[in-house]
Symmetry: C2
Subunit: 535 residues, 2 copies
Amino acid sequence: MVVFKNLDTCQAFEALKKIPAVVLHKSLDQKRISDWWIPHAAGFCYCYAFAPVDDSVIDWLEALTREQQLIEKYRILTEGAIMNTGEKRMVLHHLVRGRLGKPVIWNGQDMEVFYREEKHRFYDFAHKIREGEILGTTGKAFTQIVQIGIGGSDLGPRAASLALSRWAVAAGRARLRPWFISNVDPDDADYVLANIDLSESLFILVSKSGTTQETLANETIVRDRLQKAGLNPDKHMVAVTSTSSPLAHNPHYLDSFYIDDFIGGRYSTSSAVGGVIISIAYGPETFEEFLEGANEADRLAFEPSLRKNPVLMDALIGIYERNILGWPATAVLPYSESLSRFPAHLQQLDMESNGKSVNREGHPISYSTGPLVFGEPGTNGQHSFYQLLHQGSDIIPLQFIGFLRNQLSPDMISEGSSSRQKLLANLIAQMLAFAIGKKDENPSKTFSGNRPSTLLLARELGPRQLGALYSHFENKVMFQGFVWNLNSFDQEGVQLGKILAKKALSSITKGESTDDELLDAFIASALRAVENNGD
Amino acid sequence: MVVFKNLDTCQAFEALKKIPAVVLHKSLDQKRISDWWIPHAAGFCYCYAFAPVDDSVIDWLEALTREQQLIEKYRILTEGAIMNTGEKRMVLHHLVRGRLGKPVIWNGQDMEVFYREEKHRFYDFAHKIREGEILGTTGKAFTQIVQIGIGGSDLGPRAASLALSRWAVAAGRARLRPWFISNVDPDDADYVLANIDLSESLFILVSKSGTTQETLANETIVRDRLQKAGLNPDKHMVAVTSTSSPLAHNPHYLDSFYIDDFIGGRYSTSSAVGGVIISIAYGPETFEEFLEGANEADRLAFEPSLRKNPVLMDALIGIYERNILGWPATAVLPYSESLSRFPAHLQQLDMESNGKSVNREGHPISYSTGPLVFGEPGTNGQHSFYQLLHQGSDIIPLQFIGFLRNQLSPDMISEGSSSRQKLLANLIAQMLAFAIGKKDENPSKTFSGNRPSTLLLARELGPRQLGALYSHFENKVMFQGFVWNLNSFDQEGVQLGKILAKKALSSITKGESTDDELLDAFIASALRAVENNGD
C-alpha cells in the first residue's frame, strides 16, 4: 500500500533537523574521498564525498526514502499509476526506453508496443532520409534537419543534439546537420534560415497539441520561405504530435510521428520529440544507444539501498540542502563544451517540475520545493560567476559533470599537458577548493570553504552516457517530487500568462480595450513611453 | 569629502527595515502603471511600476543614495580615484567611451588619449581587413573572424556580436562572420575550426596578461591547424593585450592592440577586447555607435534625483530586494533572441563583481551582497522555468528587456498578429500575471501574485541601444557595489582554484604526488572509480 504524505509529516524529516550541520573541511579525509563513490549507468561514477552530509545524515535520508516509499512510488509510476494527479494522466516517459515492470495497458493498447512501433516508424523514415530514398522537391538529398518547437520540444532535444554533434562526426555517423527554431521572435527563424539551403532542408514541427502559438508562428515563416523559394512545403516537413492534434494524419506533412499525453514535454527527449531529429541527424543506432543508456540508469534507480543508488543519493542530498540547510539554488557545471546547453534543459526539467506550492492533491504546502537551477560549462564558468560561488555571501551547492577524454580531436599538448588534462585538473581542483577553502592573513584572499559539491564522472561522452545523464536528472527530479509530495508532471503555473497574452495580443493588434484595465493601461503607457523617448 | 562606510551603518538602511512590505496587487493602479517610467539613453524607457516599492520606500532609497554618496563616488571613479582598492588600480572602463569629468593622467599620459588612439588604430586595421587591403597567406580576403579568449574576453564580446549579427545584415554592414573559442575543452575549438575556411580566417587572441591558460592552449590548437593547412599562423592572428604582456610587440602577430589594468575583464567590451571583433565584423561605425549609446547612459547616470535616474533606481530597487526583502536571486529575461547570451554576460558582470564577503578595505561584512543572476530569452523561458517563477516556493524578482520591432525580417502574420506583436503581448502579460496573480477555487490553478519585475523597453535593438544596455548593467553593479561598500573590481575568489589546478595538473600529467594529500587522494580515486566501472 503506497501512502502519499507531506514532507513535514515525516519522522525522518524531524530527525534530520536535529543533526548538527556537517563542516566539510573537518569531515573530508582520504578515506571518504576514496570510498564515497557509487557506480552508475553507462560507466558513470557518482562521487558524494564533497556533499554536506555524514553517515548519520545519510542514515536518516535512507529512513526518509523508506518513509516516503520512494522506490515503491517509482515502481507504480512505471506501471501506469495516475501520477499526474491534476491532469489525471499516467507518466510513461520511462516506457519509451524499455519496460521496467508490468505491462501498461491503456484502452486495450499495450503502451510499450505503441511507443516501440512509433520508434521503428521514425527509424525507418530516418533511414530513408539518410540514404537519400526520400528527397526534397528539387530532387536533392536532405543535408539539414530543422526542429521547430519550444520548451520541452526544444531544450532537451537541442541539448542532446549539441552534446552528440562532435561525437557523431568522430563516429562517422553525422549525416544531416541539426538546427532548432524555438523563439517566437522572428529573428530566431531568420538566423537559421539564412544559414541553410532550403532545397536540402527538412523541417520537423513538434507540438503535442498542434496548437502551440510560437511553433505555429514559426511554421508560417518557414512555409512562406519554402514557397518563395519555389519549393513545396508539404514535401519538406514532418510532424511530431499526438494522434488527436490537427497535425496528425495531415497531408501537409510528409509523415507524422506520435506521442501522447503520458509523455510530458520536459521528459520527451527519449520519445519521438528527440528521437526523430537525432535518428535523422546521427542515425537510429545512435538514438538507440541513448535509450539503452537511459534504460540502464532507470533500472539502477530501483536499488533500495541509498548508498548503492546514485540517483536516489543525489536526490536526497538535494532535499537535505534545500529543506534542512535552506539553500535556494543549485548550479550544474559540466566540464564539457558539448554539454553547454544541458543546464538549460535541466533548468526546465527541474524548475517546471518541482517549482510548486501545492501538493499532489492540490493542498498548499509550507516547505520549500524545487530550487533555482542554473549553470554554464567549465572552465568558462571559472572565469565568470565562480567568484560568487567561492566568496559570495550565500552558499550554492554545485553539481559537477566530467569526462576523462575528448569527443573528437586528437588532443594538443601545450605547456606540458593536454587540454583534456587541464579540464580534469581544473574540475578536481575546484571541488577541493570549494570544500576546503584557504586561510589567509588578508581577508580578501580568504576562502571560507565548506561549499559542497557532487560529481558525475565518466570516461567519455557518447550517446549511452548522454542517455544515462538524461535519466539521472529526470529520476532525481521525480524522487524529489515524491519526497515533497508534489505532482511533478503538470505545469499550471504557465497558464495565467497564456490567457493574459491572448488578451494583450488582441488589444495590441486591434487597438481595442480588453476587460482588464491594468493590461490596457500598461500597453498604452509602454507604447507611449517609447514613442516619447524616440531617438 | 567622500566617505566609505558599510551598509549596516547607514541610517537610511535602518529606516528601510521598518517600512511595511509593499503588496503589489494592492499598490498597482493605472496611474502608477502610466507614470512610473523613466526615460533612459538611446531611446530606452525604464518601468518600475511593478517593482516591490512605494513612495515611502523610494524616498528612503534616495536618502540612502545620498548617505552612501553614490553619485560622488561615481564621479571620483571616472576621474581616476583608486577604486580597485585591493589591486590599487583605477577603474577606467567608462573612459573608453568618452571623458565624463576631469582628465585622467597616469604616468604623464592622458588616459583618454591612450584609449582613443588604440581605438583608431584598430578602426584603421578593421578598415583594411574589411576592404581586403590585408589578406591571408594565400592571398584571399578574410571572411571569418575568430576571437580566442575566456571570461571577460569572451562573454561580453560574444553576447554583443550575437546581439548585432542580424542588425548588421539588415544595415548592410556585416562583412566578416564572428566566432568565439573560449573553453579549454578542445571540442570547443574543434567545432569552430570545422565550420570555417582557415585560409579566410583571422584570429584575435585576447588575454590582458598574455598568460591565460585556456587561451594559450587554444592558440596552440589554432596555430597547429593553420600550419597543417599550409598557412603562416603569424599572418592570421592579432593580439589584444596589455603593453607589458608577452603578446605585445611580438612578431608572431599581425598587430597588437592594447588595453591596461584599469579595464577589468568583465567591463572590457567597450575596449579593444570587444572593439576589434565588432569593428572588423560589422564596421568601425557600428562600434562607434555602441560607444555613443554607452556614453549617453554613462552621462545620464550622474543625475542625482533617484526618480529621474533609471540605472540608479534599478540599482537601489535591487538593494531593497536583496537586503530588506531578503531575495537571493534575480532573473534577466530579454524578449529578444538576439540577446540570448546577454544573461551569461550579466552573470559574470554581476556575480564576479559583487559576489564578495569583505568590504573594500578587506574587512568581513555580515550583510548579503551580489545576488545569483540567471536568465534565458522570452518567450522560450515561459515554456521552461517560468512555472517556478509563478508558483514556486520562493520569490525571484525579474528584469525584463523588450523591443517593439524586429531587427531583420519583414514580420509574418499568423493567426491575425505578427510575431513581434506576439512577443510584446507575452512580455506585457507576464509582468502583469506575476504582479497580480489570480485566485481560483483549485489551489493548483491559483497564482499568489506579488512577484515583482522591472522593464527596459526600446523601439528596436541596434548598436546604440546595445551600448546603453551594457552601460546600464555595468553602472547598476557599480552603484550596488558602492552601497555594499565593496570593491567590485577585483576577483580574488578565482585564485585558489587556479593554484590547486596547477598542482592537480602536474600530478595528473607526471603521476607525481603533490604536497596536498586530499588532492592526491581525489585524483587517484576519480581515475580508479571510472576505470573500475568501464563499460
